[in-house]
Amino acid sequence: MKNALNKEIKDIIQDYPEVGRILEEYGIGCSPCSVGSCLLKDIVGIHNLDPQQEAILMYRIEKAIYPDRDVPEPKVDLTKKQAPKQISYSPPVKKLVDEHGLIKRLLALIPHIVEYIENSVNVDKELVLQCVDFIRAYADKYHHMKEEDILFKYVDNNAEIIQIMYKDHDTGRNHVRQVIEGAEKGNKAQIREHLLAYRELLMQHIKKEDEILYPWIDRQLSVTQVGEMFKQCTEADASVGDELPKKYERFIIELEEKFLQEVA
């Protein structure tokens, strides 16, 4: 089992697809991951399962990899009620989670925007560029920069999970470039493809951050570090001013009024 613990997860799942299915049952979605270079031992650690769950998970994985081995079944106290998992973020991390809220509101609008563009004669270039501006100025500059310049610096930057986050940010930037090109050329298919891909990417990305990465980072922070990080984030926000987040919130509200009015 020691060998398996130090193997990259994509190799394990390739050889033993059952392991991917077991992980999925525990809410650990490694099978669809594009990178898959996390080591099995890190994956189990990063998800912070309660000790009982972790013991059963490891038992089932070991059984799946070595079916002939005589693995002792872990003793589990079924009377012990599992505490409901509620994530409590530190204040600087909570601020980042709240920012995801506004980004997710744009993501929710993207299918409507794409449909609107498909159905109009000429591409509404201004609308597309306004969305690009939100993504670049709010999601990327205001939000992702705090992650990259502040938050990620508090943990091992070479950790696989951090590398995956950087990669996601980059992939997002590529999609945005394609969207702009589509808008310049009036190419509806290009805009559609890359706006939808951006949406899919960011939805998964935000879910990974809210549920796994941020709690994992929070668990490693001392009280002193939480205070320092809060100060750095506050300074970063102050350097762009109060008006920027307000402006982009107004923009999202306007879009919602335009595209979601039938719901209201």
Binding site: S88, Y89, S90, P91, V223, V226, G227, T234
Partner: protein, 153 residues
Amino acid sequence: MSGCPGSRTIDFSEKENQEGNETGSRPSQLRQWPIQLHLVSPLAPYFQGKDVLLSADCVAYALGDFHKDYLKGKSLAIACPKLDSEQEIYIEKIKSLIDDAKINTLTILIMQVPCCFGLVQVAKEGAEKASRKIPVKQIVVGLEGNILSEEWI
């Protein structure tokens, strides 16, 4: 049961497992004097930029590892929200700790009894009055020294 839960008589002297690990001596982690919230000055050098622990008086007696796990590396102020008078001064001092001493964080340690939450209230009011914002954490200690909850507020 009636009366104030904060002063109700409870005896857990029969509790087992009270040995713990008793080897070695434990040095004090206190790095300052005074410590009582009325007596300390927010301008004292030991508060400047520090992580501050605001502890209810009873906590240090209930919590077996108070020095090692909570006091270590922090500056301290203690108070009793039930018995202390002139608590408006406390609110001003908390505000001053945040704005003038520019403390890094504030951790409030209280007992589980309801009146102890008054200290959280005092700290919250002080923090709201302050123009700077800092992370504030609340830790609730059970009568038998167990940690009941720990959260950023």
